[in-house]
Symmetry: D3
C-alpha cells in the first residue's frame, strides 16, 4: 500500500515556460527509458521477488522513489506549458517566426488532449506501454536490465540537459542525473552482492552449463568483413565468467541443413507442387498417464 | 550489403512436430528479447557507431549472425507445425482430448495468417516492434543493453528448454544457450575493453559529473518499510565507479514545493476558479540573432 | 512523493493456485479498464488539476489507493501461478486432460517472460498503454470518464467473480467490487459538487453554447430503420441540461455538398485527370506582425 | 446493411487551405475520442445489444450518423491540405519563415503516405486502434462511456475551435459542437430511461451488492496529505445510489498480509534461496464430472 | 452520409453455437486483412479520390458494402458465443475435457470485456489499427493493394471454411468467398480500366522513369545461393511494363562506399575517439527568399 | 545464414546534411511500406515457401538485397543528421528562423534516443511492427502483396524525391526508384510464371470455387449514390479470371435476417429484459472419438 505527499521530491521550478522543451521532456516521462518505465519495472520486480530481505527491500525503496520522479516530470511539463501559444491560429503563428517556431515544435496533444499538461507518451507522442518493463524473476538478468535502464536514462537526460538554457530546468536535471548515477552504481553493487551471496554468477541464468554445447560458447563467428573484430578481449583470453576461453572463428561455416518448410496441410492453401509428399502428423499423444490406459482398454487394437 | 546461404547456422531438426510448442517458441522469434530484437539492435548499433575498427567490426559480426538465428527459429516453428490439427473443427477437437489440448494451445494465426508457418509476433501473438531495440550511439550504455538482451534471452531460452522433451529441439536450444553464454561474455568483455581504451568509465555517459548534485548521487532513499535495504553494498562503502561513497538515507524528506499545475489557458477549458490568476506567457523570444535586430529597428518601442 | 508499506491493502489469499484464472485476472491488471488504468488516470488528473483544494485532494487520495490495487492484483496473479504446470512438455500435458486444459488456458508469457509472475498486459497478452488514460484538465469531462472506468471495471470484476469458486479469490474481489461501488458513487458525487460550486454544468465543456448551432443541438437524426428510437426521453421533452428540447428528425437530409477531395499536387502522384484544375495554394501568410512590415518594406510590389 | 450518399451531412467548406490545422484536426478523426471511436463504439454496442427496441434503435441511429462525421472530417482534412507546400525542400522552406512554419507543423505522412489526404491516426500520427471502443453489453456502463466520449470529444472540438480563424472551419465545428451537446444530453437521457424502465440502477452492474463488503463500499481512504478531501459530498451524506452513506477514513491501515510472491518453479530460474520451501502444486483436478469417475475406477489408490 | 437497415446483407445463422470458432473468426473482423480493414481502406480511398465518376463511385459502392460485412461477422461472433461456458470455473472445466477444450480455445476478452460479443481485435486479441489501411491517392498502387486485401482475405476465409463443420457458418462463408472472388476480379478489372483510360501504366507511379537509373531497373541481384533464381521470366525477356528487359546479375558487387556514421555532436554523448574530426554543420540556410535579403542588408559581412 | 560486407549496395552521399529531410526519410526505413517491411516480408515468405527451386530462390535473392536497403537508408539518415542543431535551446532556435524551421521539423528522438542516428520508426515516430508483413504461404496472394509493397514504396519514394534538392540524396533515390520498378516487374512476372506452371490461377486461393455461391461472385452491389459505377469493365463482360461474367446490381436488398445478439449469460451482466428467453448452450460435445465411448459406458443414461 502507498501513501503520498503533495510535496515534490525535488525542485521543479523552471525560470520561465518553454513549450517546445515540454515536448522533448515527454521522452523522460513516457519514453522507453523514461521514469514511467523504471517505476513499473522496479514495482513488478519487487512484487515478483521470491525472497524477503535486502534485495526486495532495495527494489521497493527505489521503485517508490521513481513514482515521485514521474510526478516531477509531469509537473515540469505542465509548468513549461504555461502560457503556451497553443490556441494561436496558423495565420497568427505564421506571421511571427518566434510563435511559429514554438508552435511547430510543440506536441499538439498536450493542448488538445490534456489542456496544457503532459500525456503518457514519448516525445513523438507514442504512448508508453507495458512491454517496456523487465521483471523476469531472475535477479541477475533483471539487475543488468536496471543498469541498462539507468544508463540509457542518464544518456537521454544528459542530452536533454544540453538542450535547455533554463537554470530551473537544469537544476532539476542535475538532480535526475545524480540519481541516475547513484542507481547505476546501486545495481552494479547489487550484482556484486548477488555473487557474494552465492545466488548468481556472471551469466544469467547460472544454469544448464552442462547442457549447452561448450564449443559454441567460446567463439566469435566472423560474418562481416571488418578486419579488427579479433582485436578485442572478446576474441581471446579468459571470458568474464572465468569458465570459458574466448576464441575467434575466422571463417565460420553453416552447420545445419538447408532451410525449408515442410509439406503443407492442403486445407491451408499454401502453394505446393507435391514434391515433398504429404505432411507428417503432429506426433503427440503417446500418452503416459491414465488416459492412455483408458484408450488402451477401450481400443486395444489401436 | 548482405549475402545469404540457404544452409542453416545450426541443426533445426525436431524429432517430431509439436504445434503447441511452436506457439511458445514464437517468444524467441518476435518477443521483446527474441532473435529479432538482437538482430535489429546490433544492426542499428553498428550503423550508428561513430568509429571504425574493432567495436564496429564486433557488432557487425554478431548482428549478421543473429539474422541467421531468426532464420533458425522461423524454420523450427514451421517444422514443429507440420501436420498440426489446425483445420480440425471444434466438434472433432472436443471429441478427442489430445487434439483438443493441442488446438487450445496453438496460435490460431500460425494457421489462419501464415498457413502453417511463423508470424513475426511473440507467444501471445503481439507483433514485434521497433521500440524493442536500443542503439543510442553511446557504447557503454548500449553494451549494457546487449548484456541485458542476451541475459533475458538466455533466461527465456532456458525456460523453454525445460518445456520440451524433443531431443531435436533441445539440440538446437543447446546451441542457442551456448551462443547466449558467449554473447554475455562478449559484451562484458567489450565493456572492459572500453574502459581499457579510455573511452568510457563505469557510468554512462561518463560526463556531467561536475554538473550533477553530488550529494544526491550517493544515497539510497528509504521509502518503503522493508528493514534490510541498508544491508547491501549499495548502502555503504565505495561505489562501483570508484568515485562515490554509498550511503543510506533512512528518513528522506521531500525537497521540492507542492506539486501543482499552473493557471490554464481559458481557451483550453481546464476547470479553474481563477484563484491563481492568469498564466504567464511562455517567455521565449529574447532573440539574440539578426531577427531581433530587425524587430528592434522596426518596432523600437516594443 | 510516495511512501510504501509491504502490507497489502486487503487480503490476497487464494485457497489454492489456479493458473488458468491467473491469465483471466490479467484483465484487471493491464486491461483497458484495469487497475493500472485508474492508477495512472487519477495520478495524471491530480497533477493536471488547476486548483488546490478538495477536488485535487480527492483525486490524489484515490490515485494513491489505486497503486495499491495494482499491487494486490499483481500479488494475486503470482500466488495463483504457484506450482503451475508451466514447464510440462506438450506430450505430458496431452496425456492428462486436466494438465492439458490448464496449459491450454494459461498465458505462456507469465512463465516464459515473468518466471511465474504477472505481466503488464491484459488477458490476451496485449500490453497496457498510456492511451487508456483520460486527463483532460476539464473536471466534468474527466469525472464522467472516472465513472465510466469504475463502471466498466466493476462489470469486469463482477464477471470474473463468477468465473471462480475459490473463496480466497472471491474475498478479494468482494473488496474490489465494494471499492468500485464507492468510487462510482464518489465520482457521481463529485459531479454534483462541481455543479453546486458553479464550476461546471451538465455539458462539457460548459462553453461555446452561443457559438454552436442550436438547431442541431436538439435532434435525433433517424438514419437506421429501427422504429422505436423516438420512444425514449432523448426524443422529446427537456434535455438533462435544462436548456434544450429534445426532438426527433424522422427523415434527415444531408446539408452539405458532395464529398470530394481537391485537385492534387502533381508531385504527390495522386491519380488525376486534370478536370478540376490546379490546386489553390494554402493561403496562409497574410502576416499581421512585424514580419509583414519587413516584407512590405523590402518587396513593396508583392 | 448500409447505404451511402455522396452528399455530406453538413458543410465542409474551409475558406482557404491550412495544412497545419489539417494535422491538428487528425485528433478528431483518429484520436482516442475522435469520430472513428464513437462510430465503432456505437456500432459495436448496437450489434452487442441484447434487446430489440428503443435502446438498440437509438444506438444504431447515432452510430450511423457518426460514420458520416468521419466522412466530414476526412474531407475537411483533404480540403485544408490543398496546395500545401508539402513538396518544398528544406532549403526553400528555411528561406521563408511562413513556409517553414507551415512545414514544421504539418503531418509528413499526410503527404508521403496519403498524397495530400487524411491518415487514420491522431494529431501525433499514432494510428487509431480498436481498444479505444467500449461495448460491454451492459447498457448503464456503456452509456456512461458514451457520455464520456461525447464530453471528451466536445472538449477537444472546443479547443480546436479556438485554434482557427477560418469561418468555414468554424462553421463545421459549430455543427460538431452542437451534435456533441445533443449526444451528451441523449446518453444522460438514456441513463434516466434505463432507470425508469427498471433495467439498471445507479451502479454498474446493478448486481452482487449482497456479496460485496458493504463496509468498504462507503469510505474514502485518505492516503495523500491534502487536507480538504473530506469537504465534498463524497465524504459524508447519502451516496448517489441512495443505498450507501459516504464516510471519510482519515488514517487507513493496510488490511492484508505482506506482499510476497510464492516459491518459484526451479525450472523457471527465478532467483531463490529456498527459504520458503517448494511450491505448492496448482490444486485443480478435484474433478466432479465423469472423468473423475474414470480416474477413480482405473487408479483407485490415487 | 450513411443510412442503415437492421437487416443483414446475408444470412448469419449458425446451426449451433461454437465459442472456439468465435475466437478464430475474430481474424476476419479485426485482423490485418479482415472486414474492418477493407471497410476503412475503401472509405479512405473514396474520400481521397481526386476525380468524380466511375472510379470513385465504384470504390464507394464496395466500401459501403464492406461495413455490412463487419456487421455480419460481428453478429456471427455473438451468435456463436451463445451459451458459452465462459463463466465456468477452472475446476469445473478441468473436470470435463470437452468444457476444458472449449474454455482453453476461447478468447477471454469476448467474455470479460464484451459480455459475450465480439471485440475489435484479431484472433489473438490484438486490436485492429489504422495502419492496416492503404489509401495513397494513387489509384494503380491502391488497386493493387485492394487485390492483395481481397486475396489475403479470401485465403484466410478459405482456411476458416475448412475449420468448421457447421452448415450455417459455412453458408455465410460461401457468400464471403464469392464476394472476395468478385472483388479480386473487380480490382483487376479496374487496373485494366485505368490503363485503357490512359491514367496509369503498369508501374506505380507512372512517372520519373527518365530520372531513375535504367540499368538498375532491369537486374535481379543474386545474393542468396539458390541456383534456380535465373530460371523464371523475371530473369530474362521483356518485363511486364513492356519497357524493360529483365536480366540476371550473377555476382553483384556493392557500388557504394563503406557504411559509416558521421562524427557526432559531442553534446549527444555518442562514443567517439575524435578520429573523424568535428561534424559538418547542417548546410541549410542559403536562403533564396526575402529573409535572405534582410539578412544581407543587416549583416553584409556574413 | 548470412554474411555482410561494410560496403553499401549503392552510393549514400548527401551533398550536405539536412536534418528535416532525415525525419521524412524515416518513412522509407520504418514505415508500413519502408525497406524494413519488404526485408522481413520477403524473408518470411522465403522461409515459409513450401517448394525448393526458382520461386524460393527468387524470394531469397530479393530479401537479402532488401536488408542492404535498410542499411542504406539508415546510413543516409545518420549522414543527413550530421551537425544538426539538435542541442540548440528553444530560445536560440526561436531567435533564428532558419534554425527554428529545422528544429520544428526534426524528429526529437533521432537526437534524444539515437544520438544523431535513425530510429526504427516511421516519419511520425511510430515504431515499425511485425504486422506490416505478409507471408501467407500462398504465393499468388503473396506476390500481389509484393507488387503492392513495391508500388506503395515507389509512390512514397517518388514523393520524397520531389521533397529534396540535394543531388546526393536524389542519386540514391534514383537507385531506389529503379529497384522498385524492377521489383514491381519481377512480382508481376512471377505471377505470370505461377500461371504458366499451373500452380495458381487468377484468384487466390484457386480453390473452393465449387463451394462458393456463384451468383454472388459476379455482381457489383450499388449501395452509394454515385451514378457511374456501372460504366467500368467491372460491371459487365468477362471477369479477369475468365470464369465469371461481371454484372451490376442496381438496387440490392439485404438477404439476411435482422441483426441481433442472442440472449446473454446472466453471469456476464449484459442488460437484458428476458424477452428472448434463456441462451442455448453451446452445442459441442457430440463426441465421435473414444471419449464418447467412455462416457456412454459410464453414464449410459445421459
Amino acid at each position: 500500500m502507498f501513501r503520498h505527499t503533495d510535496y515534490l521530491q525535488f525542485d521543479v521550478a523552471p525560470e520561465k515556460p518553454d513549450p517546445v522543451y515540454a515536448r522533448k521532456l515527454q521522452e523522460l516521462l513516457g519514453g522507453a527509458y523514461g521514469e514511467m518505465t523504471v517505476t513499473m519495472q522496479y514495482l513488478f520486480q519487487g512484487w515478483n521477488c521470491r525472497m524477503d530481505g535486502k534485495y526486495k527491500d532495495l527494489i521497493m525503496d527505489i521503485a517508490t522513489e521513481e513514482i515521485g520522479h514521474v510526478e516531477m516530470i509531469a509537473t515540469m511539463v505542465a509548468r513549461l506549458l504555461e502560457g503556451a501559444p497553443a490556441t494561436e491560429s496558423t495565420q497568427a503563428a505564421a506571421a511571427d517566426p518566434v510563435v511559429a517556431a514554438v508552435l511547430g515544435g510543440m506536441d499538439p496533444q498536450q493542448a488538445i488532449i490534456s489542456g496544457g499538461g503532459p500525456v503518457l507518451a514519448d516525445s513523438n507522442g507514442v504512448p508508453w506501454n507495458g512491454r517496456y518493463i523487465v521483471a523476469s524473476g531472475n535477479l541477475l538478468a533483471d539487475f543488468y536490465a536496471n543498469v541498462t535502464a539507468e544508463a540509457q536514462g542518464r544518456v537521454q537526460t544528459a542530452r536533454l540537459y544540453n538542450m535547455t538554457d533554463d537554470p530551473g530546468v537544469k537544476a532539476m536535471l542535475k538532480f535526475n542525473l545524480a540519481r541516475d548515477t547513484y542507481h547505476q552504481n546501486t545495481w552494479l553493487s547489487a550484482i556484486e552482492e548477488l555473487k557474494a551471496d552465492g545466488l548468481e554468477g556472471t551469466i544469467a541464468p547460472n544454469a544448464l552449463f552442462d547442457e549447452e554445447y561448450t564449443e559454441h560458447a567460446e567463439t566469435l563467428w566472423h560474418l562481416s568483413d571488418g578486419t579488427q573484430a579479433d582485436q578485442g578481449r572478446w576474441a581471446s583470453g579468459t571470458a568474464p565468467d572465468g569458465a570459458h576461453t574466448n576464441r575467434f572463428l575466422a571463417n565460420p561455416q553453416p552447420l545445419g541443413d538447408k532451410a525449408s518448410a515442410p509439406p503443407p496441410d492442403p486445407k491451408l492453401y499454401a502453394t505446393y507442387d507435391g514434391s515433398r509428399g504429404d505432411p507428417t502428423p503432429a506426433s503427440i499423444g503417446t500418452e503416459k498417464g491414465f488416459l492412455g490406459k483408458v484408450k488402451d482398454a477401450l481400443e486395444p487394437d489401436k
